[in-house]
Amino acid sequence: MKVTLKSNLAWVGVMLFGFIIIDALEFAGLINTFIENMLVTIGINVILAVGLNLIIGFAGQFSLGHAGFMAIGAYATGIMTQTMSTPLGFYISMVVGMVIAVIAAVIVGVPTLRLRGDYLAIATMGAAEIIRIVINNLKITNGAAGLFNIPALASWVTVYVLMCLTTIVTVNFIHSRGGRAVMAVREDELAAGAMGINTTRWKLAAFVFGAATAAIGGSLHAAYIQTIAPGDFNIMASIAILIIVVLGGVGSITGTFVAAVVLGALDTILQNFGTVRMIIYSLALILIMIFKPAGLLGTWEFSFRRWLTKGAVTHD
């Protein structure tokens, strides 16, 4: 118990530390809009990629439509905060986005997750396209032009806090009964079933969870960037999130953080390189895939608990 408390406190410390550093830099005027934009993008990408890693890395289900759920959150906020432009309105829109994303995930997940195999990948890719096309053709979403002047109801602080919250909730889920059930399905679906695990139910739980957090990412994106268009949520956007997960390590939340930061910084630095940017970016990815196919961190996780118990372990 004591170790648990210490480790939890250490994590709270890390989160506070990160906050204070960014806040101090902001205060000192060292963070311009450009850098703040990068930090916020990293934060939102962490939210999206942590959820996707739960689906891919922990539940072992391949989803290719994460941007679709993000779009649902973004448009819920973009549309609703036009009439309810208060922080409360923003959070209500976020919850509405999550609920719609969850419903969409259940509709896509129930028929496909019953089956063994990668049916989910195709279904989610299709679903994300359908969502994008629907948004493209509706009046309320302003079609292909998208929405402008969305009230600025999310600051870097909002993004930071929600990034911490979704990560805590996800990691806690992974280290609980549900997370173990989900990993059992990944390891051996047949054996999991024989041990009484309702495999479809737990796969769906992870998928729905990831969809809900993607909607949070979308809401934050809309309220911070203030402009959204259907094209922001195409297949390339889904693949960008997937790249973070794969690069960091499928099954490592620590890796997801590292990859989101590295790629976010790389993307920003390379912006000055014009068209060469995509080449360098792709090359970097290819090199990492060749030399570290399991991703930067594989399935390794940073753990204060392990640190704290090091040396104190007495195996008799």
């Binding site: 648990t4 009964r177 059930a181 054996a191 079933g193 041990m195 009484g196």
Partner: protein, 259 residues
């Protein structure tokens, strides 16, 4: 006094033209250790797969007698059958290899410890209580099979025989009333096999459960089981007490004849 636990009537399983299980009827009573023997390809594993819902029946019926009355297992999914109190191990070990030994056992307890979503993700006190209770129960089982020292190791690191024992622990953790063990001693030397067989006998008694054991070495099961079923070519060749089986002319001819 015996009471019926499971009744399987006229089970048939065909794979295309091959009849792997042909019209086999078996029954298991509470609190007994039953052996299932037969040569390679006799249909032993297929019979287990039918009884646990892993493989759908071609025809036949399976009934389980529970405290709530008789329930049919026909058409039920493996997870539902497991929840009804039937557990198993696999001939070709199927552990959750990348997870720790302890987690392997805890996973099998999933349905017995309710840990709500909000309780776990917000780490409410109930979460820690449930986890502690699970860990304690898991450690008690691990101790019986001498696996305490490796509790935190990934299952894939264990030697073959140890993995087999872990699979039995995992199956026990689902709190079964009926446990199917598919060649639990495969790959072990005669001494280890004898030890394991004794251990199986002991847990069958201590846990008041029914254990059905597939074993190749007929002489070993003979000493510990109450009853035996002998399968051959998918059909039931004989059934009865070890004494009866040893004196059965058909068995002597088919199974022991060559020895």
């Amino acid at each position: 006094m015996t009471s019926r636990l499971l009744d399987a009537q006229e089970l048939v399983k065909s794979f295309g033209g091959l009849t792997a299980v042909a019209n086999v009827s078996v029954h298991f009573d509470r609190n007994e250790l039953v052996g299932l023997i037969g040569p390679n390809g006799a249909g032993k594993t297929t019979l287990f797969n039918l009884l646990t819902g892993e493989t759908p029946l071609t025809s036949g019926s399976i009934s389980l007698y529970t405290d709530q009355g008789v329930q049919t297992l026909n058409g039920k999914k493996p997870a539902q059958i497991a929840q009804a109190g039937i557990s198993r191990t696999f001939q070709n070990i199927r552990l959750f290899k990348d997870l720790s030994v302890l987690d392997n056992v805890k996973i099998a307890m999933t349905n017995h410890y309710q840990e709500g979503f909000l309780t776990s993700v917000f780490r409410l006190p109930k979460f820690y209580q449930t986890e502690a209770a699970m860990a304690q129960a898991a450690h008690e089982l691990l101790k019986i099979f001498d696996l305490t020292a490796v509790a935190d190791q990934p299952a894939r690191n264990l030697p073959y025989g140890t993995q087999r024992r872990l699979e039995i622990v995992r199956a026990l953790a689902t709190k079964p009333s009926l446990l199917f063990l598919d060649e639990p001693a495969a790959g072990m030397n005669p001494e280890e096999t004898a030890d394991l067989t004794q251990l199986i006998r002991q847990i069958q008694r201590d846990f008041h459960i029914t254990v059905v054991l597939i074993e190749h070495d007929m002489s070993l099961v003979m000493n510990v089981v109450e009853r035996l079923y002998v399968l051959e070519h998918g059909g039931l060749l004989a059934s009865g007490t070890p004494d009866e089986i040893q004196r059965d002319p058909a068995v002597i001819k088919a199974y022991l004849g060559g020895a």
